[in-house]
């Protein structure tokens, strides 16, 4: 029935699809406190994409986050969105149903939003994605514990545990999550996806676990010459993101909810 969840087609040439990153598997189990669940669907383990996978468990000595300087975010640019789609295989989604329906049903991990201040008329552009809340409502409400927060602050969905109830989508104040409405094909080995599960931005967790420095959206934004997004460790006072946060005023979206998000915005 759900052959797609277990059929992980490899489109990444370097790595044989059968290499299972044991350290990472162990980690997902412990981080979610649900190691037993790892036995549920042994076919769906994540695969490594590059050399040097992380061998130590994730600790809370770091907290990953993003700072988005909306002043630098260009109108009409979609480099971050396109890069995210490529990085996570979302560009491989095939349209289902009518075009308008597909617009509302396809998975989106990051989107550009254009706002106008009702009082002043000032226009702001910004990318929105999962805000990696410190107190994530999606994790609170998930009945099975499939939504979980890693020790390093990344909020993600355990694909073995998600039953597709979509309660997390009801609870997320940022509308950050997507439900996979259709059969998936041609996925990336690093980013398994499966019909009937929920997914969202995971701060390129596969890059994190292979010691890479940044995220796909950050790289793309920099490449375009905008440099509107900074990625880094919020706990390290010397990291670029912490330094920048000290320099410029920033805020969280829906600050009133006191979720202490890992994604911060300047100029909204």
């Amino acid at each position: 029935m759900n052959e797609n969840a277990t059929r992980i087609a490899s489109t990444s040439d370097e790595t044989p699809a059968s290499t299972v990153d044991a350290g990472r598997r162990g980690f997902i189990g412990t981080a979610a406190g649900l190691s037993a669940a790892a036995l549920v669907a042994p076919g769906v383990f994540l695969h490594s994409v590059a050399a040097a996978p992380r061998s130590e468990p994730v600790t809370d000595s770091v907290r990953w986050g993003l700072l988005i300087d909306t002043a630098k975010c260009a109108d009409g640019c979609s480099a971050c969105v396109d890069a995210c789609d490529r990085e996570n295989g979302l560009d491989l989604q095939e349209p289902h149903g009518s075009e308008s329906k597909w617009e509302h049903q396809k998975s989106v991990w990051i989107r550009k939003v254009k706002l106008q201040d009702n009082q002043t008329g000032r226009i702001t552009n910004l990318p929105m994605m999962c805000q990696h809340c410190e107190h994530p409502p999606c994790v609170d409400v998930c009945p099975t514990g499939a939504s979980f927060k890693r020790a390093d602050g990344i909020v993600m969905v355990d694909r073995h545990l998600c039953i597709g109830c979509r309660y997390c989508m009801m609870a997320c104040p940022y509308k950050a999550r997507s439900f996979i409405h259709q059969n998936t094909s041609g996925q990336l080995t690093a980013v398994p996806r499966g019909k009937g599960c929920v997914e969202s931005c995971n701060l390129c967790v596969h890059r994190r676990d292979h010691g890479e420095e940044s995220t796909a959206c950050v790289d793309a934004c920099a490449q375009e010459g905008h440099g509107a997004i900074v990625f880094g460790d919020l706990k390290d006072p010397d990291s670029a993101i912490s330094q920048r946060l000290r320099e410029i005023p920033s805020r969280q979206i829906r600050e009133d909810l006191v979720l202490n998000t890992g994604v911060r915005y300047a100029g909204v």
Binding site: V108, H160, I163, G164, H181
Partner: protein, 416 residues
């Protein structure tokens, strides 16, 4: 007053089997719909990333809260010691279990990964109200089955009262829990309100009783068992009262929202410009589902006519579906307040551009799946009353207990 005799439902086999056949066909169609949505994925449904819970949830939540409401009759008999309701206790318990089963089935069949139900039953996140509800539902079934035993078995007699109290408390918790699934979602404006818990309780009273009365009247009529005017008057007054309570909570819910300035936009949209949701609110929920049935039930002439009472019950159910459609789907369609004080001009993810509501139209498979849940509930009830003694032989005035209060009695004993 005579002793109440319970008897199996003995309508002619042809009628019985055609009824079962009809219900089984509905269930079969629902199973096909489920298979279709499950095989193709949810893209064939009207649900999307903005409106994530659709028509199946309207049916499921209706059945679940009506289940708890249906148990009221038993509670009034045992816990509040109204002897006139005692003969109805067994049917009330059966209907409660049956509707809960139907509702839960719909809920489960709509999961993105229904085959992982075992995961949901072995991994609990105790900060999730949803996970708590799984216990509330299974506990409810166990308690109601024990309750039925205590009503039907001689040895159960002494336990009837304590189990009755437990069942009452449990059902209140269950409906509050169901309401709280919505009531504690800070993200959505319409939901961020603790009053949804008690409001769901008040709605459940009316819906459960309306379904109960329809089943009772249908079952009795088919077999020619009598329901006396005294019993009818009691049930009808009770239904009118419950509708009134539900209306009161609805009013308070909207007044509280209107009082909070941040929800003005939501209320304005819902009450005035929300299109189908506004229509369903005013016409479905308030007019057809509340005011018209109340008018019928209090009307001096119409309220004595069986057809009109049936009509009133049916309208309450129609109103119930409208109400839940507005509560569940309308609240999701209204765009989330991501950036207060701003208008979203463009968005790559349908964030309510220029305040637009998210689209949702139920598709046929979703509706058929929901209807299947109703059919499951009715099938369980039909089989139950046929094989076991759930229904009293007669509810005629000379059989049911007299009203315990008489109007001319002094409210207090006079001092000597």
């Amino acid at each position: 007053m005579k002793r109440v005799v319970y008897r199996e439902w003995r309508i002619p086999p042809e009628r019985y089997w055609s009824l079962l056949g009809f219900l089984a066909a509905l269930i079969g169609i629902a199973a096909l719909s489920f298979g279709y949505m499950e095989h193709e994925g949810h893209w064939v449904s009207g649900m999307n990333n903005s409106v994530v819970w659709g028509m199946p949830h309207v049916f499921a939540v209706f059945l679940i809260i009506a289940a708890s409401g249906a148990l009221n009759i038993a509670s009034i008999g045992t816990v509040f010691r109204k002897p006139i309701y005692k003969p109805l206790g067994r049917l009330s318990g059966l209907l409660a279990v049956a509707m809960l089963m139907g509702g839960l089935l719909v809920l489960v069949m709509d999961l993105g990964r229904p085959e992982r139900l075992i995961v949901a039953m072995t991994n609990y996140n105790f900060s999730s109200i949803f996970a708590w509800n799984i216990f509330l539902y299974t506990g409810f079934m166990a308690i109601v089955i024990a309750y039925l035993w205590s009503m039907a078995d001689r040895q159960g007699g002494p336990f009837n009262y304590p189990i009755g109290i437990l069942a009452l408390v449990w059902r209140l918790a269950l409906t509050t829990g169901t309401g709280s699934i919505f009531g504690f979602l800070v993200a959505r404006q319409a939901y961020d309100a603790a009053i949804l818990g008690p409001m769901f309780v008040s709605l459940s009273f009316a819906y459960g009783l309306a379904v109960f009365m329809l089943v009772l009247m249908f079952g009795f009529e088919e077999e020619g068992r009598p329901i006396g005017p005294r019993m009818m008057r009691r049930l009808r007054n009770l239904l009118a009262l419950f509708i009134g309570i539900a209306l009161y909570f609805t009013l308070i819910y909207h007044l509280t929202n209107l009082y909070m300035a941040k929800n003005d936009g939501l209320e304005h949209w819902l009450l005035l410009s929300g299109g189908i949701y506004t229509f369903l609110f005013w016409v479905g929920w308030i007019l057809v589902g509340s005011l018209v049935p109340m008018w019928i039930l209090y009307h001096p002439v119409l309220s004595r006519k069986r057809e009109w009472i049936i009509g009133a019950c049916a309208l309450v159910i129609v109103g119930g579906f409208s109400a839940l459609y507005v509560i569940i789907i309308g609240s999701q369609a209204f765009p989330m307040a991501l950036f207060p004080g701003h208008t979203i001009l463009e968005s790559g993810f349908a964030d309510g551009v220029n305040g637009a509501a998210a689209p949702y139209w139920p598709t046929i498979p979703e509706i058929l799946l929901g209807v299947g849940g109703v059919a499951v509930a009715l099938l369980i009830t039909a089989v139950g009353v046929r094989v076991l003694q759930f229904m009293p032989e007669s509810l005629a005035d000379d059989v049911v207990a007299p009203d315990e209060e008489t109007l001319d009695a002094a409210p207090f004993a006079k001092p000597v």
